[in-house]
Each structure stands twice: as C-alpha cells, then as structure tokens.
Symmetry: C2
Subunit: 502 residues, 2 copies
C-alpha cells in the first residue's frame, strides 16, 4: 500500500559487473486503466536496481519492466494507492499562469531560502539546518547536488557524488550510491517538513571536476538524477545555478537537451528552470520546457517586466542576501531584503531569501545552513502567513511598471477578487486612495507594519478630491479616485490589506 504522492519503490536484482550506469537500460511501465506512465529505473549499488514511482491518483496500479538485460526485463508487480497522508499535497505545479499550487489544489507560494551545500556539511550541522528550516517557515530551499568550491567554501564534502578512482580523482562514469542515498534522505526529510527541494544539478563553483564533465557524462547524469529523484514529490529541477558561468562547458543547446531529458524521464514533470549569474544573462525562459522564471536580480521593481517578457511565474531567487560579507550580492540590510520581498510579491512575483553574515569559521547559512542569525526571515515568514491566511489564488500587480503610480509603489490584487494589498516601501504618504475600491461596500482594511509585523485596522477617511490638473489633452483630478481614503501615519515600510467582505 502506498499513499498518494508518496514514493512507491521496487527493487530488483541485476548484473553487478561491467558498468551498469552506462550499459544497462531499465524502465517500468505503470498502468491504471488505459493510462500508461513510463518510469526510468536506475542501478543503485552492486546487484540492486530500483524503480521509483510517485502515484498521483488513488486506486490500483500495475507495472511491468523492460530492460536491455534479461534479468530486469518483463518483471511485473502492482500497488494500491490510498489517500494522501495528512499534510501531503503532491507536487507543485504552475497555476493561474504566474502562480503555483500543489497537485491537490492547495495554493503554494514559493518562499524559499538558499543553502547550496548543506547536504555536504557535517551531519550535526545538517540536523541544525533542518531544525532552522522548520522554525523559519521557508517552504523551498535551493540546494546543489554537487559540493561547492567558492569563497567561504573551502571544506571538503562528506563524500563525493561520483566514486573516487583508485589513485585519486573522480570517475564521473560511476555515481556514488551512498552520496545519492544521503541526498535522497535529506530531500525526503525536507518533504516531511513541507519544503520543496529546488535542486541545482549543475553549478560552476568547482575544484573536483563536476563542472567540466564531458557532454556525454552530463547527459547521463541528468537522466540518472531524473530516475533517482523524480518520485520525490518535493523536487524542483534547477538545472543550474549561474548557467552563464558554465557556458564554456555546457552550451545553450545542451541546457535545452537537459530539459528534454527531464521531460522524457521525469513522469511527474516537476518544475524546471535555469538560474542566471550575470543580471543581463537571463536564460530564455520563454522556451516551452521551462516552467517558470528563475533569476537573480536586485532590481525588484522590474518584476512585472519579467512577467511580461516570459509569461511565466517569476521566482527571483536572489534579490541580494541579508548579510555583511564583502561580495556585494551578500551584504544588504535585513530591512532592505524585507522591502525587496514585499516589492516583488506585490508586483506579481516571488523572492528568495539568503543570509550571508561573516563568520570566523565561514559557517554561512547561504552555503552551509546551520543557524539563522538575521532579522529578515521572521518578516518574510510574516508575509507568507498573510498570503496563506487568505488562501490567495495569486497576486497580480495593479499596474505595469510604467503605469502611474505603480512604478513607484507596489500594489496587487488577488485573482480570487477578494483581497488587495498595497505596499508603500520608501514612500510615506499621509493618506491614500489610488487602487482602493471605487465603489462603497463592506471592506475590512488593515494597516500592516512590514517590519514590526503588526496588523491593525486602518482608519477610513473621506477620499480627497484633487484639484484638477492639466495634462495635455486630458485633465486629471477634480474627482476622488476611490470611494474612500485611508489615513496613514506618514512613515515608511507600511502596507494596506483590503478585504472585500461580501
């Protein structure tokens, strides 16, 4: 018996000789009524071959295998899928074009953090990372399969991802089953915490050779990752971190091919995207095999521009990190990062957290996990709870960047039509009308202090009537912009929430 969205695993014995990773093909064909799903199996260790499958419907399934070797060919079996366990919602999908939801329809708002190499740190630290994640409220984590070689990241990983050769070096044709088993265990634990694993398959920060594998090795690795990991409901495929710093070894057409391999070998069709390094080198997220936009860009007021450019959900993984290290992507204030989260979300996108406070032992959250030291995560959790509280369908920006006044302040309307937010950021008007309801009615309007995390009833006032102003052929003003106004205290980093009650 398997629960819906959990992993069904079947293990088989096959040849241990030669190099099964390169030589053996192995698939299972799952059936439910007329429906057929092809699942790619993999060689695990020794004589062990594995099929993993995440059922997305309840009821009875059967399967048969096919393989290039006789022992693995024509095996069959069955499973019964029962209702999902409490708190299990399935995989995250794009919904409402710019937003996300789980398989079961529960809205999902990506509020993620970044700990690139956390699974390569000492086990005790990994435990602390998981505890911190649970406390933090983050529901996604960007993490890499490969270890990281980079400033502040000079320690050796616990184990290599491919097996070491006798006499030194790594054999990129022989994956390390123990390393993958550990990765899978941690992905599963994230899943139990309700955290999506935004898994980075390639990155350039390397001294072991992972960034300079051959084209053939790269393709095989992607297919293997799909075979091993696709059955985890909380997997997202982050093909790269900073793909543009890998273009010397992985050209653009190969990134496309990676996506195709995932389309072929991931029956769950988990989310796929490719993250840039240089702010002017976004991957072409319009390509149909890219499900959502992953970028790093500090210039978050441009969020609506990226929505238009790509027509997909925008996840700005790195609007710079809270911290104080010397690289300029890692030393903004907590206040500024919270501001960038609100600005991004109220312009129809999603932002990512990272924390980079200097540490005498280089134990920095962004790469190694461990303990959170900053102040932004609490406010980010507060914002997420606000979205969850109203079970929003997706916040759509009230204007485009060049529409008055929405290039300057940020406002968004939920697709459900019942909740609006307006965020003033560095602006501190003493009253407000733009974007408020134009018809009187039963509204609950709250003033939100985004830093102090308070929600208090806002004071309604009569909407002011601006003196008419000549603007070429049109005259602006002369009538109120809304059915009522809101009095504001004239300080920054405030937001309004307007709920329509009937």
């Amino acid at each position: 018996m398997t629960h819906l969205y959990d992993i069904f695993e079947a293990r088989f014995k096959g040849p241990a000789s030669g190099n099964p990773y390169l030589d053996v093909t192995f698939h299972a064909h799952f059936s439910q009524g007329n429906r057929k799903v092809r699942v790619t199996g993999f060689h695990d260790d020794g004589e062990d071959y594995v099929i993993r499958f995440m059922p997305d419907t309840v009821g009875d399934w059967t399967f048969t295998t096919s393989s290039s070797v006789a022992e693995l060919d024509g095996k069959s079996g069955s499973l019964t899928v029962t209702a999902a366990r409490e708190g299990v919602h399935g995989a995250v999908r794009v919904r409402n074009r710019f937003h996300f939801a789980y398989d079961d329809g529960t809205p999902y708002y990506p509020f993620g953090t970044t700990c690139y190499a956390w699974t390569h740190q000492p086990l005790e630290m990994q435990e602390r990372t998981l505890a911190s994640l649970e406390m933090s409220g983050f529901n996604k984590i960007r993490m890499a399969v490969f270890p990281k070689d980079y400033p502040f990241n000079t320690n050796e990983p616990l184990q290599p991802i491919f097996l070491e050769k006798e006499g030194g070096g790594i054999d990129f044709d022989r994956p390390n089953p123990s390393a993958f088993a550990h990765l899978e265990k941690q992905i599963a634990r994230l899943g139990e915490l309700g955290i999506e694993a935004d898994l980075i398959l390639f990155h350039p920060y390397d001294r072991w050779g992972y960034a300079t594998m051959t084209e053939e090795q790269n393709l095989r690795y992607v297919e293997y990752a799909a075979a091993r990991l696709s059955a985890f409901r909380n997997i997202w495929w982050a093909l790269a971190n900073e793909y543009d710093f890998l273009l010397d070894t992985i050209p653009v057409q190969t990134w496309d091919r990676f996506c195709h391999l995932l389309e072929e070998n991931d029956p769950g069709q988990h989310l796929r995207s490719i993250h840039n390094g240089d702010q002017n080198m976004n991957f072409d997220h319009r390509k149909p095999w890219i499900t959502h936009v992953c970028i790093q860009n500090w210039d978050v007021k441009r969020t609506p521009e990226w929505r238009v450019a790509y027509g997909k959900p925008v996840v700005n993984d790195e609007p710079e990190y809270e911290g104080n290290i010397w690289p300029s992507w890692g030393n903004i204030t907590a206040q500024e990062l919270v501001h960038r989260f609100w600005t991004t979300v109220l312009r129809g996108g999603y932002a990512g957290h990272g924390e980079t406070y200097a540490d005498p032992d280089d134990l920095i959250w962004w790469a190694k996990g461990g303990t959170l030291h900053g102040e932004s995560w609490k406010r980010i959790k507060f914002l997420l709870k606000l979205l969850q509280q109203d079970r929003l369908e997706g916040l759509e920006p009230m204007g485009m960047n060049d529409q008055w006044p929405w290039s300057r302040i940020s406002g968004a309307r939920d697709l459900g039509g019942k909740v609006d937010f307006i965020y003033f950021g560095e602006h501190q008007p003493n009253q407000w009308t733009t974007g408020l309801p134009t018809e009187d009615g039963n509204y609950e309007i709250d003033l939100i202090d985004t830093w102090n995390m308070t929600v208090t009833p806002a004071k309604r006032i009569t909407a002011h009537i601006p003196h008419p102003q000549r603007h070429g052929n049109i005259v602006r003003g002369g009538k109120a912009e809304a059915a009522f106004g809101i009095e504001l205290p004239g300080r920054p980093n405030l937001a309004l929430r307007i709920r329509k009650l009937d």
Copy 2:
C-alpha cells in the same frame, strides 16, 4: 563702469503706440576689437526700450543699435568692464563632458532644489524663501515664469505675466513689465546668493491660458525672455517642466525651434534643457542645442545609462521628493532622498531636491518656497561641501550599471585623479577592497556617514585574498583586488573617500 559678468543695461526712448512687443525689432551690436556680439533688445514699458548685456571679458566695449523704428536705430555707446566682483564667477557651462564649471573656471556642481511658483507667492513668503535658500546651501533652483495651477496650488499669483485685458482674460500679446521686473529682481537676488535660476519657460499646470498660447505667441515669448533675461549670469533655460504634458499645444519641432531662438537671441548661450513628465518620455537630449540632460526619474541606479544615451551632463531634477503628500512622487523619506543623491552623484550625475510635506494651508516648499521642514537638505548640503572641499573636476562612475559590482554599489573617481568615493547605500559589507588603490602609496581614507554627516579616518586592513572561484573560462579571486582593504562597521549608508596625497 561694469564688472565682469554683471549686467550692463542701456535704456532708450521709442514709440509707445501700437504694440511694440509685436511691431518693433531692436538690437545692439557690441564690439571689442574684432569681436562682435549681437544683443536683442526689448520694449519694457511706455516709451522705454532696453538693451542688456553681460560682458564676459574685461576692457572697453562699444555698441551701436539697429531697429525697425528710427528713434532706436543707430544709437551708440560704450562701456568699460573691470574685474569681477568677489564671489562672481560668470555663467555655468558644461565642462569635462558630464560636468559643469563657471566662466572663470571654478567647478560648479548643480545641487538644486525646486520652488516652482515662489515668485508668485506673497512678498513676505518670498523673503523667507530667499532666507531658507541661503541657509540651505542649494546652488540652483527650478522655478517657473508662469504661475502654477495644480493640486496644493490654487491661489492666484500676485500679478499675471501678460497684461489683463479690459473685461477679463489675458492678452498674451502684451507682456506685463511689472511682472518681469519682479522676476528679474528675484533672479538677481538669487545670483547674489550664488544660486542659478533654472528657469522654466513653459509648464502644463495652468488655468489662465499660458499653456495654450498660440505658436506665434510662444515663439515671441521665448525671444522676449531671451532679450530680457540673457544678461543674468545665473540663468539656465529650462524650456519646460513636463514638456510631454504640453505636446497637445507645443509639438516636438517647436521645442527645437525654442532652442534655436535662444541660440539666436542669448549671446551668453546659457544652458538649455527640457524636462520630461512621464519617465519613459525623456526629451531627445542628444540634439546639439540641448546642453545637458534634465529628467525626472526615481530609478537613480540607472544614471550611467543616461550618460551613455545622451553623452551630456545628467541632472535628475526629481528623483522623487522628501515628504508625505498623497502623490507618490512627493512622499519618500529623507533617508531615501539622501540615498538617491549619493547614488546619483557617485554614478556620475547630479540630483535635485524637493520637499513636499503636507501643510494645512498648502504652503509646500516644492511649489511655494517658504520654510524647509525636512531632514534631507542638511545631508545634501554636507555632500555638496565634500565635493567643493576637494574642488573636484567631476566624478566619473567606476563602472557601468552592468559591470561588477557597480550595478549594486556606487563608486566614482574624480577626473582630477586624486579623489575617489565609494558609496555602499543599502549594502553593509564588513570590509572592502573593490575600487581601492591597486598600488600602495600615501592615501588618506575616510569613512563617511552620509546620514549623521561625520567624516572619520577609516581603518586600513590587509586586503583579503578571495578563494579562487571558477567562472567559466576565467578563474576569479586567488589574489587581492587592492593593495589594502578597509574595515567597515557593517551598517548601511556609509561611504569611503580615498584621497591620494602625493
């Protein structure tokens, strides 16, 4: 006897009948040796005709007049020009492509404010405005010839700019000599305070008809303004505020023609620019008759982009205003405006101040002058003093927007080669090396707190050697970026000043 850069004025009697404004042409031809300068005269009031001339060289000058009427034709005279008075430096010109200096070579850094209609307010308030300006340290003011009709601006001006018709309305073919005399008096007083009058000839905020004069009336008015005002050393021609909201009455080719009229009739060739409304509607400042870029744009990290686009000095008049009124261009915090000044100046541009705090009587600095209530002006004055202290030739940005790390933080190097500034803004690194001297030497390095206005010696440390990082074909890091590093306190809104001492 006239001092250099002061006004030489000669008055003549001529016909008072008919409409001299439309009917009479009157010029003077000033000579010094082989040099000839054509000056346009104007009819002032009654029988009075005037020639005004700002000499830009010392020594003896002679002049003769020419006119369409006999009484004003063939008059002659002479003047002797002696050295400039203390503190008088002449007109401001573009120098070093992106920067400015006075005629006498003194560097000029435009640090201006905005009081659009201050000369139309009660006289007592005008006195307060001048006192506030003197205290504030601003050396430029944006101000309009015409009165202003706009939100918070509903009062009548003291007098119309053109004469009222009997029975009501304004005769746009008859300028009001008294109104111009008052304007001139105030421009002269600004000049004595060392303040440039960035004089806006046209704007759309109108209920009297100034914004809808005929093409012929507009052209005649520009020529008249040139004749009356060109001899004021501190005049800048701001052809419009928000020209794009006037395009229904003044098409683009007419704006060009205005500039040509100023080129023809302003022998001093004072600075000329045209200010946009919509952030996407910058005038084409590449045109040769535009001397510098005037824009309004809150997105100040883009400053280097505008330098490249137009190849001229960038003066961002309105990077939004400090205040709390409801329009979103007028309600940012003092902190944010100071941040935008530093960001603009350290990216090779200049910014403008404005203050828009709500007032029960709508007495708001940005339109009416009076009293400053905010907190940014003090910090802006502090920044200006830092530039003046080193008599900088012009700060050139250390990198373009897309060059690492200068899209995120701001740094600039003086053209004189002796002083660098780096401004961290929302960034709070605990140490810094990028952009610091690469060769050891005798440097004075100060840490500047841009908000608390302190300058203290910065602590030099050994430059850190970043762990080498793979970035495609190149490997970054592995060696220090500079001869030394600076320890920083890890809080925002700090700057460094690096002076080379030998």
